[in-house]
């Protein structure tokens, strides 16, 4: 993480933190896992709620 840029003079191309490093794939994977976990946890809650309603 952090900056590969030490001056903005003549800067071009990708400027985001971690550009061109393994942090790109890391955070891509982390954000995707967050989405999957959210769907799993949400789905479980929903299923439990419907089961409760059947009682």
């Amino acid at each position: 993480m952090g900056s590969a840029i030490d001056t903005w003079n003549d800067s071009a191309g990708a400027i985001y933190m971690g550009a061109g490093t393994s942090w790109e794939l890391t955070w891509l994977a982390v954000s995707a896992v967050m989405c999957v976990v959210a769907i799993y946890v949400g789905g479980k809650h929903e299923a439990d709620a419907y089961k409760e309603a059947e009682k």
């Binding site: 900056s3 903005w8 985001y16 954000s31």
Partner: protein
């Protein structure tokens, strides 16, 4: 041959003049259009606060919100815009030739020629307008926290202090290329998580400490009761409108290219003069919006907190929207969405009745926003310049800025509200609060055909 050359030169000069007019008109229109988009933030806050109120107070909450916006406009004209330009050096302006006071007199003197229709100045009005809407946003942030028991006049006074002074000082220090937080500490707050959201959130906290909770909020044993919004769909739509208006807010944080006052001729810049693009913002605003919603959904399942998470997600990434890798923005916002409700519960546990979670969404998540840049974007140059000649973004610089923003909000909010409290004009009367502010002082009714519309909701 010479005639042809002269003709080409004349046509080239005409083309350049036409291009300059087009660019200037684009720049003027760009900031002009950010203003109605930012007014959507106020549409949103209006719906949000009225929906969050109990039925007996709904119009009183609306009046308060509308007046905040109305009074910010003239006071920001009279002195707020001046403060932004004059207070960059620190606690006081610098005087004399080349000082910040002289700069403010040139750009923001309310008696000056640029502060009105002026054919030679097509920038001051739209810049002032955009900043006025930033100012009104700070007042709206405070507004929701204090609903149902603050006196209108005291609220207006507090809104003026916050919107036309406190956050403006923060902006002069940390959102200006000559601000001392930037030049000495490399402070970076692209989307104003610190100088707007933290200042407003902690100002609200200072007021809430003196204002006290709504009657019936806390029991004798300290446990809290839920004073439910009377119209949750209105709250949700209000919050979504705030998100829409946020796009105007963030677009107005950019400096367009090609003008005499621009940083670059070829692309946009942040207010610090560092390069960025609308494309960068599009990635990171949407990803942070989504992350905040999803994180809050996982923890709460509650649509109120999900939409607060949307707002909080953007705020938690606002400082670095120009620098973050989009999946990182999603991750930060997801985390913010997850901690939102627990943080709000902690505020309630210490006896603070924040009706809409403003202290948490704006104050606490604003801290995440400011510090996130120190963690993830350390090392970036904070300003234009050769390597080693300008300050860089750092964890310590962001920490110093964070403390400054917190104090710039908390101290004036607490002190001014304490003075109003000592004068006996901070809070509405107890009988009026129990009966409802609408039947007490509003000439119209929100729901005239509903039976019991003016009865106590609880």
């Amino acid at each position: 041959m010479e005639e042809q050359l002269a003709q080409v030169i004349a046509e080239l000069a005409a083309l350049k003049a036409a291009q300059a007019v087009t660019n200037t008109t684009f720049a003027e229109t760009y900031y002009y259009l950010s203003i109605p988009l930012m007014i959507l933030i106020h549409v949103g806050f209006l719906g949000y606060e009225m929906g969050a109120s109990r039925q007996k107070n709904v119009l009183a909450s609306g009046i308060k919100n509308i007046l905040a916006f109305a009074f910010i406009v003239p006071t920001f004209y009279y002195f707020g815009w001046f403060v932004y330009w004059a207070w960059t050096p620190g606690l006081l302006p610098t005087f004399g030739e080349g000082g910040s006071w002289e700069t403010a007199m040139a750009f923001a003197n309310p008696l000056g020629e640029v502060m009105g229709p002026n054919l030679d100045d097509r920038a001051t009005g739209v810049f002032w307008g955009a900043f006025t809407l930033f100012a009104a946003t700070t007042a709206s942030i405070m507004s929701g926290a204090v609903i149902e028991r603050i006196r209108v006049v005291s609220f207006v006074i507090l809104a003026i202090v916050l919107g036309s002074f406190a956050w403006v000082v923060a902006a002069a220090w940390g959102w200006h290329y000559q601000g001392w937080l930037v030049t000495e500490w490399g402070f970076h707050d692209f989307g104003a998580a610190g100088l707007v959201h933290m200042v407003a959130g902690f100002f609200a906290l200072g007021v809430l400490i003196n204002l006290g909770p709504r009657i019936g909020k806390f029991n004798a044993d300290g446990s809290a009761n839920n004073l439910s919004p009377h119209n949750m769909p209105l709250v949700l739509i209000g919050l979504m409108l705030i998100i829409a208006g946020f796009w105007g807010f963030l677009m107005a944080c950019l400096i367009v290219p090609g003008e005499a006052w621009s940083w670059f001729n070829s692309h946009m810049a942040t207010i610090y003069g560092t390069p960025t693009t609308l494309s960068a913002l599009s990635f990171n605003i949407l990803m942070s919006f989504a992350g905040g919603i999803i994180g809050a959904w996982v923890v709460t399942r509650d649509p109120f907190w999900m939409m607060s998470g949307a707002l909080g997600g953007i705020i938690s990434c606002a400082s670095g929207l120009d620098l973050y890798w989009p999946p990182l923005a999603f991750g930060i916002a997801f985390f913010a969405g997850c901690v939102l409700k627990p943080c709000a519960d902690m505020v309630e546990k210490i006896g603070i009745d924040d009706a809409v979670g403003a202290v948490t969404v704006h104050g606490t998540l604003g801290i995440i926003g400011v510090m996130g840049v120190g963690i993830f974007a350390s090392g970036y140059p904070a300003l234009q310049g050769d390597a080693g000649t300008v300050p860089t973004i750092s964890f310590m610089g962001q920490f110093v800025g964070m403390i400054v923003m917190l104090l710039l909000g908390l101290v004036p909010g607490y002190v001014v509200s304490l003075i109003l409290k000592m004068m006996g004009i901070l809070r509405v009367g107890e009988a009026a609060e129990i009966a409802g502010l609408d039947p007490t002082k509003v000439p119209s009714q929100a729901y005239p055909e509903w039976k019991g519309a003016h009865h106590a909701a609880e």
